[in-house]
Amino acid sequence: MHEWALAESIVFTVNEEAVKEKLKDITMVKVKVGELQQIELDIFKFALENVLPLSSIPLNMARIDIEIDESTLKCNVCRNEWNFRDAAGKLPEEESEAIHFIPEVAHIYMRCPRCGSPDFEIAKGRGVWIDYIEGER
């Protein structure tokens, strides 16, 4: 379960931000989980719940809003746009697992459905991302 490592990074970032912004209380953390990384929300929430005790500022699951971020892939050659969902079904399990670990390897296993190029941009929906952190001083 490598989701644990990403969950830890969320907690550490909230803590860092709390210090930087002198927050005494965290009211909301908005986390986006990019579709490309294919993280199961239940697993991720379980991991997050288990690493919350690492936090130096009080934090609980009710204050963490997790949302799946749909992906947009954009071809640098022909400008075509598509998403991972529509293409993912065709990938062998090993390849989609590799993308789960390192989303960039999508460039190895996927091609622009219009022109066949591996030269596309992951414009949206890559992986774990903090949209915003709200708190009180």
Binding site: M1, A5, F101, E104, V105, I108
Partner: protein, 240 residues
Amino acid sequence: MDPRLNIIDKRFENVKRIIAVSGGKGGIGKSLTASALALLLTKQGFRTGLLDLDFCGPSDHVILGIEGVFPEEDKGIIPPEVLGIRFMSITYFAGYNPVPLRGSEVSNAIIELLAITRWNELDFLIIDMPPGTGDPALDIIRLIKRVEFLIVTTQSRVALAVAKKELQVLKELGIPVAGVLENMRLKEQSAVKEELSCFEVPFLGSILFDYSLEDALGDPLKLLKTDFAVELEKIVKALC
């Protein structure tokens, strides 16, 4: 906000020294030096990790003959121990396929690897760098606070010109340079030491061009017996 950036320091918490084998130019023996260095340090009893960051041209698995291993998933990913070395490479995820990544994607993939890899306790982590002073070099400098560089060069004018540029950047940024290694020396005389003396970095020594090297690639025991490894072992002692 990219949460991964805040966890990287913690991942290296229990790693004593982090040495990036670099040199600007390609084909000067960075991968061979990094791989042999990891082998030699392990042989000397140090807990050693090896991270191949040359995503477009990963070579360490070829040099060390590593195949059929995969990281374990446990609160992150744990690099498999092969030949006593904790080894991490993009090849686990890329297989033998080409890796046509733009720099920003290489950067993102490096950040992901650094954020999720649990090295645990190590005396040395050796990082095999790709050529150039692009995203990988800039990211390693930016993200790994305690990194030291080991610069490899050959006596060739083209290699020296590039090595000087990398040393100049490192000097300007105050990044420690563990030393410079001259590799593939062909002639009796060489101006490498003098040419680089102005940078005031330790000159670690010269390794001759070794005609037996190619046949030892992929075979760690043979590799350790090459003149290359024997010479590097002397040099490693100066590093520790």
